[in-house]
């Protein structure tokens, strides 16, 4: 099978994470040829069986690129937060165009398209969450594809994995932690190292977001602080609830 790794607008951290697989990449190469990987290869070919796409389109060219990738692959995987939720790029959507131009100093000259999750433009077969994505989950997905198993998104929060690691709860210590609404699968990497969850994996389907907003307000966080935290990685997914919170 052939795989390709493609980048749209992003930091390309997920591509780097692919290289971080180290010895597992050799395992991978027994089953796959990496046909397309700008960061690591000179000659790139299409079509591929599995396309991993990181980043999010921020101009028309990139939208076309994405559509072309979709056409030339069997399985499309949204790789990392930017591809899954619009990510950090989508923060620009919280501002007015005028504000945004101020931030970017009038560059680029032509106002780009609003950053959106990939599934806004094309059908996405699998999502790999996180900034960057989790290596374990990537291997799980690839194993599932090889064995013909269904790969299922984790339908539980970071809190589940955090409490299984017997961590001290950061909410109890007064941190603005988004663990309770953020999709698990990262093995609670940040909270296990004393840093509150920023929600880089985005909210999971069943998340009780309004419930968590209430918890954060009870701790003493202001509306603005909560909105800022929710907008950091998941503005596109949480637009509605953020709007509701602003109104309240």
């Amino acid at each position: 099978m052939k795989i390709g790794i493609f980048s749209l607008s992003c930091c390309e951290g997920c591509s780097v994470q692919f290289l971080n697989l180290e010895e597992k990449i050799l395992d991978l190469l027994k089953h796959f040829g990496i046909e397309n990987f700008r960061l690591a290869k000179e000659y790139n070919e299409m079509p591929v069986d599995i396309a991993f796409v990181e980043g999010t389109p921020t101009n028309r060219e990139e939208i076309l690129k994405l559509l072309k990738i979709r056409k030339d692959c069997n399985v499309l995987v949204a790789l990392g937060t930017c591809a899954v939720t619009g990510g950090v790029s989508a923060m620009v959507n919280t501002m007015s165009k005028k504000e945004a131009m101020e931030v970017y100093g009038g560059f680029p000259p032509e106002m780009p398209v609003d950053p959106k999750p990939l599934d806004y433009y094309v059908d996405v077969d699998y999502h790999l969450y996180g900034c960057p994505f989790s290596k374990e989950e990537l291997m799980e997905l690839i194993t599932s594809i090889i064995l013909g198993k269904k790969y299922k998104d984790k339908e539980y929060s970071v809190c589940v994995e955090c409490s299984l690691r017997e961590n001290n709860c950061l909410l109890d210590q007064g941190y603005l932690c988004l663990g309770p609404i953020t999709r698990g699968g990262c093995k609670a990497l940040c909270p296990s190292n004393g840093k509150p969850c920023l929600g880089c994996r985005g909210p999971y389907e069943d998340a009780n977001i309004k419930g968590h907003i209430k918890v954060l307000q009870d701790i003493g966080f202001s509306k603005e602080e909560i909105i800022e935290a929710l907008s950091l990685f998941s503005y596109e997914k949480l637009k509605e609830v953020i709007g509701w919170l602003k109104e309240e």
Binding site: L147, G148, K149, K150
Partner: protein, 271 residues
Amino acid sequence: MNNLYLPFLAEIKEIREETPDTKTFVISAPLKFKPGQFVELSVFGYGEAPISISGGNGECIELTIRAVGNVTNKIHRMKVGDYVGIRGPFGNGWPIEKVEGKNLLIAAGGIGLAPLKPVIEHVCQNRDKFKEVTLLYGARKPSLMLFKYKFDEWSKHMNLLLTVDEPENGWKGHVGVVTTLCDKIKHVSDTITLMCGPPIMMKYTSMVLIELGFPPSEIYLSLERNMKCGIGICGHCAVGGVYVCKDGPVFSLNRAIRFIEKPHEVQGVLD
């Protein structure tokens, strides 16, 4: 110490295509089982799934499986001679001993006929022990009906009432959901009903049967839950304080409607 979580290896001896999405696997497992019991089927690397036993002869068991999840899709891709793992049998099974000397109504919907097949076979072999016997079976389409090749034989021993939701070419029988056939059942009193099918079918059939005068204590249903361990420990199949895996999967309707957490299969029945 006997490890109940450790499956034994069993060979697939024969595979029969039943419908486009359902196959029957004959598996070399010398298990003594009661009709209505289930086994935990392992496909190593894919996990375990509870599957009811649809037949057996003491040396082999038959499992009739529809491809819906990881385990079931994988076993559909397996061949004769491949190995799977088996644990069990688990569960209480159908109360056949209670039916002896009485009338029997077997009501099945779709894949729900599989756990009832051992009962039907038992009836065919011991026909004199039962009075009137009716098999009520509904499927979505004629091509999705299980065990069609058995119908001729079965109809010698019992009254077969068949129905489909959507007729296909050549279907001359009844069209409509299972409940539309209920008024054709000729015996009401002294009848025990054994029922298995999708939740919605069991719910409406129960309602209609009660209206026709079948007492809820004489209607038995088999519930489907996500049994992970099969032995009442993992908690996944718990509903209203009972473990479907070890207290069930067969419950009388009378009991099921009194569970504290009313199972979906009987929600609305006698409310």
